[in-house]
């Protein structure tokens, strides 16, 4: 084995500003830890919440070998602190103030890999419909947590920030429904982490190589995703993708 190569790309839905994108990712190459979150557009400050979740997951003391309950609690607690501190609560107009009470929501996918003698083992935790794919060549060997495109619904499980101001500045959050996966990844494999629009597209069309071919060239990626959206093969939504090539 000679290591891994990682590429990331994120893009706002067509018609929105590039700064409007509520999908975020982080990775720590040294610890081979990856996080991706899709902030729910139905709540506000979801961009801050999704970014806070992915950043909190990079804490060096947190490992995917920890129990999922403990891991998610730690990530949510740190992210909540970041989220609450990142919002200027005073002086909000009535529509932001009223909606902020409901807090923010996001999906979350965490994945970590560890080297073995001739392969890697991995663990993953998922809340919602942000998916992970393991590819051998151009073939999808496995996907997690969803297995087929019809599994995508309108109400995915989400991580909740807890109440916003003025109800609560304290942390008291219940764990969301989550799924876990683990296994091994052989050299030569490619791992994709992607939010729902790209994940559904991959499952529905079965041609992940089309996106892999343009990954690494942001201009080409924007063109490719825009074409797929305009041709209605992909839902017009914020998108985020990480491609991990296992050498």
């Amino acid at each position: 084995m000679s290591g891994i190569q990682v590429l990331g790309f994120r893009m706002s839905k067509l018609g929105n500003r590039s700064t409007d994108c509520e999908d975020f990712y982080s990775w720590d190459l040294a610890r081979m830890k990856f996080a991706m979150a899709d902030g729910a557009s139905s709540s506000i400050f979801s961009d801050i919440w999704a970014r806070s979740l992915t950043q909190a997951a990079m804490d060096e003391n947190l490992s995917l070998d920890d129990s999922p309950d403990s891991l998610l609690s730690s990530v949510m607690k740190a992210a909540r602190k970041n989220w609450y501190g990142g919002i200027q609560w005073a002086g909000l107009p009535w529509f932001l103030r009223n909606k902020s009470v409901s807090g923010s929501h996001s999906t979350l996918l965490l994945m970590q890999a560890w080297p073995l003698a001739s392969s890697y083992r991995y663990s993953a935790v998922a809340v919602g419909d942000t998916c992970m794919f393991i590819l051998k060549g151009n073939q999808i060997e496995d996907s997690f947590p969803l297995k087929q495109y019809s599994d995508f619904g309108n109400t995915p499980s989400l991580v909740w920030s807890g109440k916003g101001s003025p109800i609560s500045a304290t942390v008291r959050m219940s764990l969301p429904k989550y799924s876990t996966a683990s296994g091994t990844i052989a050299p030569g494999s490619t791992v994709i982490l992607a939010t729902d629009a790209i994940s559904k597209w991959i499952m529905e069309h079965g041609k992940p190589q089309e996106i892999l071919e343009v990954m690494g060239n942001d201009h080409a990626m924007k063109g490719f995703i825009s074409r797929e959206i305009n041709s209605k093969r992909m839902r017009n939504d914020d998108t985020a993708i990480i491609v991990i090539r296992i050498m």
Binding site: D20, S46, L96, N98, K163, I167, N236
Partner: protein
């Protein structure tokens, strides 16, 4: 004709509210101490609030919807726009210009799991009015003209939604013909949707939402059949969302409510990933 067109700032939707302001709206809503005009004003304020709530993002209120409001019956034989600035305005204009704010309370669950009442400011755009006769046909004619103009510039947008809030007693003829003409208008994404919020003074009748069969309508309100008949059948695209929300609807259900809110219908419009309602109190 699929009702799947994306609702966005590039492709906004149109809501036209029609509010009955006739004298008969001063009568009490069946089984309550509130007048039908109070209920109508509250319904329209709540629905505008809900639409603004849905359009509120971190950067403010995004113009996913254009809004028009028609009042009919405040002046004899007259239906007219209730908005001063223009007949149809982007929703952010309404967010910026409520008539007044009033303190309301709502129950929320605090971090310790206790249900507590908290105060919030509720915007009021329209006050109750109950004044003259009921020129509902004229109101529909005005709505039809607005839809004609708007649709010419938004050919591929989500079809316009017309929400009529009334006790049903039209005094300027049979509204069925013009209502059906409106329901035949369309964008490339589907026909115009006509929703009816029927406020009745009938006592003892149970509130009813989205009936599929006129046999379940209250027989003692002579306008129920008519308003049901001029309400759109819920599009298929609403049904899958309704099923996820456990609403009791089927493919024959109509956008008609009797002494009940239309709030659930707004839930069925797809404008982005939904947060689970158990967290939204």
């Amino acid at each position: 004709m699929s009702y799947t067109s994306e609702i966005s700032r590039r492709n906004p939707g149109l809501f036209i509210f029609m509010v009955d302001q006739s004298r008969s709206m001063s009568h009490k809503l069946g089984g309550t101490l509130r007048s039908k005009s109070q209920e109508a004003a509250d319904a329209i304020n709540r629905q505008i609030y809900e639409l603004i709530y849905r359009c509120t993002k971190t950067d403010g209120v995004r113009d996913y919807f254009d809004i028009g409001i028609i009042g009919y019956g405040a002046v004899a034989d007259t239906a007219a726009s209730l908005l001063k600035e223009a007949d149809i305005v982007p929703i952010s204009k309404l967010a910026a210009s409520p008539l007044r704010m009033e303190k309301r309370t709502e129950k929320v669950t605090d971090p310790d799991g206790n249900e507590v009442e908290t105060e919030f400011e509720f915007p009021v755009w329209f006050e109750p009015v109950a004044n003259s006769n009921t020129p509902m046909v004229k109101a529909f004619q005005l709505a039809k003209a607005w839809i004609d103009d708007w649709s010419a510039e938004h050919r591929d947008s989500y079809p316009p939604v017309v929400i009529n809030i009334s006790d049903g007693a039209a005094t300027d003829g049979d509204p069925m013909k013009i209502a059906r003409e409106i329901m035949e208008m369309s964008t490339s994404d589907g026909k115009v949707l006509l929703w009816n919020c029927h406020l009745s003074e009938l006592k003892g009748a149970k509130p009813l939402a989205f009936p599929a069969d006129q046999a379940v309508l209250p027989r003692d309100d002579k306008f129920a059949q008519q308003l049901f008949g001029m309400s759109s059948v819920l599009p298929d695209s609403f049904l899958s969302i309704a099923q996820e929300r456990s609403l009791d609807v089927n493919s024959n259900s109509r956008a008609y409510v009797f002494n009940a809110g239309l709030d659930e219908l707004l839930e069925l419009l797809d404008i982005g990933t939904r947060a689970p309602t158990e967290n939204l109190q």
